[in-house]
């Protein structure tokens, strides 16, 4: 069910259950709010392992809706590719000041 359709380098993202904040998963299954610190994988077996870990029991009370997203490896760390994920990682592109 968690079969990846994406193909390239991928990382796991979710929202924190209590706060709703955007979080990304590291290889050890811990969560960070900094996308650059996420762990990504390309090998399908490793990708599968990441998403299975994200969906495993203890995460049910830590995060909501873990999913795989396409990322790129940049000098500063992992970076999202799609606009939606860029906005999720960085916040709204508009700020409120009147």
């Amino acid at each position: 069910m968690a079969k990846s359709r994406l193909g390239g380098l991928q990382a796991v993202t979710a929202n924190d259950l209590r706060s709703g904040a955007v979080v990304f998963m590291r290889r050890d299954g811990s969560w960070t709010d900094d996308v650059r610190l996420a762990d990504a994988a390309q090998d399908p077996v490793e990708v599968e392992r990441l998403i299975e870990l994200a969906r495993s029991g203890r995460n049910a009370t830590l995060v909501v809706d873990p999913v795989l997203i396409e990322v790129a490896a940049e000098a500063t760390g992992v970076a999202p590719i799609r606009l939606r994920e860029k906005i999720r990682a960085a916040g709204p592109t508009v700020t409120f000041d009147s």
Partner: protein, 552 residues
């Protein structure tokens, strides 16, 4: 306005306690996300891109100063110091923690507010004309009926798991400011020849993927049968509405597939067994609710005001505001003031805590403590004396709330779009901001005249693009934001769904395209009195297409 009695207060507190328990069960793992999601949605809690969003119900858009101050407090204490007023006359807070949600609902209960049924497949917050009780053209005040519908629809045991969401709007004016024909049920209160209240009942309107204008199913429903008839419609919809495809689950599809006559037959069958029983509304009960909406103690004033007239003559900025943001009041010497939440270049519908507090203070002093929220994402002071308008204007101006653009090209409706919403395909707010900046010049705007631009970031159409004079729909084309333009939509009594003008435009092109459409209108109009929508209805889409795609 309506005030909670002990029953209402007890109900809301029970509901807060219930939700507190549900949140606790989610956090401790007893409830899975699948089980919890519909429960949180029933309390207006969404999970958006960045955080949880709480949508608070503002029944038919009516607020007291005390309530608005509480919303400001919640924005400051629990959120990022601002809130977003929506096209359902509600307010959304974008950065709320789930664990704090029960406390916020308890805060809201203190000022007779809640978030019940602001989401989910149930009867949503009932909306009404935002000028209710004030508009000069009003025949019947729709608020008492909206309140009765609000009560009846609250946690209705039969209609909490409908095929899809269900929206009801009520107006009591021949000029429809509540967009009743794009609602699941639209109600127009009017008087028959004997002076009795009757409802024209429209059914099956809606926007979204398949926009449809509602059809009139009854023209003469007695007010005593309002609930019984709505219950009959809802029952038929609950049983027969499609549940196999969420894009075909609204009642508009049932009306379309079944046909109005067959649907009306089924409704009448249910109605026959419901009417004349416990849902019948005795006149005395309606009168009890109406008493809450008795007119405030208006002064007897002359129809004109010297103070106002002098200000218009001597202060061109006030004159521009007066020309654009005032509407005629039913009582001599009073006016309705629209507070634009569309300052040039700002996100449509947002207000800071400080602004909400400023408006609450002004309303307390100058508008009988009342504020309205419009489905066009503005606020309204419904009852301001003409004599007080210059000082009210000055107070609004000092907090950035006196933009004189109500109904003009920069008074744009926009959904939150891809900046906040997990359903969106493209951003809406930045497009609105850039259009607003392009047309910032006040005299240019007023030369263009009435022009309603409405922007949605996806096909769900929360930004009402189908009924914009100019509608903009954001789509995702191979990872790029693209914008499709529709022309000629209208949400009023001459309801129309806009027509797609042609291929979409990139984010870089969209503002130029809008400007080209406006230029075409200015060339085509017979006189400055002929509005954009009038020209469109006269000439159709073709001249706009030609200029748009030839020049592109």
């Amino acid at each position: 306005m309506y005030r909670y009695d002990e029953f209402d207060s007890a109900f809301v507190l029970e509901r807060v306690a219930e939700f507190r328990d549900q949140v606790a069960r989610r956090l401790n793992g007893e409830l899975t996300e699948d089980q919890f999601k519909p429960l949180r949605l029933m309390n207006g809690v969404y999970l958006q891109l960045h955080a949880y969003m709480l949508r608070v119900a503002i029944p038919y858009g009516v607020l007291s100063s005390r309530q608005l101050r509480k919303l400001a407090y919640i924005a400051r204490r629990y959120d990022r110091d601002y809130g977003h007023f929506t096209t359902r006359q509600n307010i959304q807070f974008n950065w709320i923690k789930l664990a704090e949600m029960p406390d916020i609902l308890a805060e809201l209960a203190e000022v007779e507010m809640h978030a019940i049924q602001t989401s989910g497949n149930c009867i949503r917050n009932v909306t009404a004309d935002h000028f209710a009780g004030a508009a000069a053209d009003e025949v019947i005040d729709p608020r008492p009926y909206a309140e009765i519908l609000r009560q009846w629809s609250s946690l209705h045991p039969e209609f909490t798991f409908l095929p899809r969401k269900f929206k009801i709007a009520v107006t009591g004016s021949p000029h429809d400011r509540a967009a009743i024909q794009v609602h699941d049920i639209g109600l127009e209160a009017k008087r028959d020849s004997a002076g009795r209240v009757r409802f024209a009942v429209w059914v099956g309107g809606g926007q979204g993927r398949t926009p449809m204008i509602a059809k009139k199913i009854r023209d003469d429903l007695p007010e005593s049968e309002l609930l019984a008839y709505c219950e009959a419609i809802l029952r038929v919809y609950n049983l027969e509405g499609r549940r196999d495809n969420k894009y075909k689950a609204r009642i508009k599809i049932l009306v379309h597939e079944k046909g109005l006559d067959d649907l009306a037959d089924d409704v009448e069958l249910e109605f026959a067994s419901i009417r004349g029983k416990s849902l019948d509304l005795p006149a005395a009960e309606i009168a009890k609710i109406e008493a809450y909406f008795a007119p405030p103690p208006f002064d007897e004033l002359p129809a004109s005001s010297a103070i106002y007239d002098v200000a218009v003559r001597t202060d061109p900025e006030f004159a521009a505001f007066a020309r654009q943001n005032l509407a005629p009041h039913k009582i001599n010497g009073y006016s309705i003031v629209t507070i634009s939440l569309k300052p040039i270049g700002a996100p449509p519908g947002d207000a800071t805590s400080a602004q909400m507090e400023a408006i609450a203070d002004i309303a307390a002093r100058y508008s009988f403590d009342e504020i309205r929220v419009t489905h066009e994402q503005n606020l309204v002071l419904p009852h301001v004396r003409l004599d007080d308008l210059p000082v009210v204007y000055a107070m609004l101006a000092s907090t950035g709330l006196a933009t004189p653009n109500a109904g003009l090209v920069t008074d744009i409706i926009a959904c939150p779009g891809l900046d906040y919403c997990s359903l969106a395909n493209a951003r809406s707010i930045p497009v609105a901001q850039r259009i607003s900046e392009r047309f910032a010049d006040s005299s240019r705007q007023s030369d263009i005249g009435e022009l309603k631009i409405k922007i949605s970031g996806c096909i769900n159409a929360c930004g009402h693009h189908h009924v914009g004079h100019i509608g903009i729909l954001g789509v995702d084309r191979k990872g790029e934001e693209f914008y499709q333009i529709t022309l000629g939509g209208s949400a009023d009594e001459n309801c129309a769904i806009g027509e797609i003008v042609g291929p979409g435009f990139s984010a870089d092109q969209i503002v130029d395209a809008i400007e080209q459409i406006v230029a075409t209108y200015l060339e085509l109009r017979d006189s400055p009195r002929e509005r954009f929508i009038d020209v469109y209805r006269r000439v159709g889409v073709k001249p706009f297409q030609e200029s748009l795609y030839v020049n592109a």
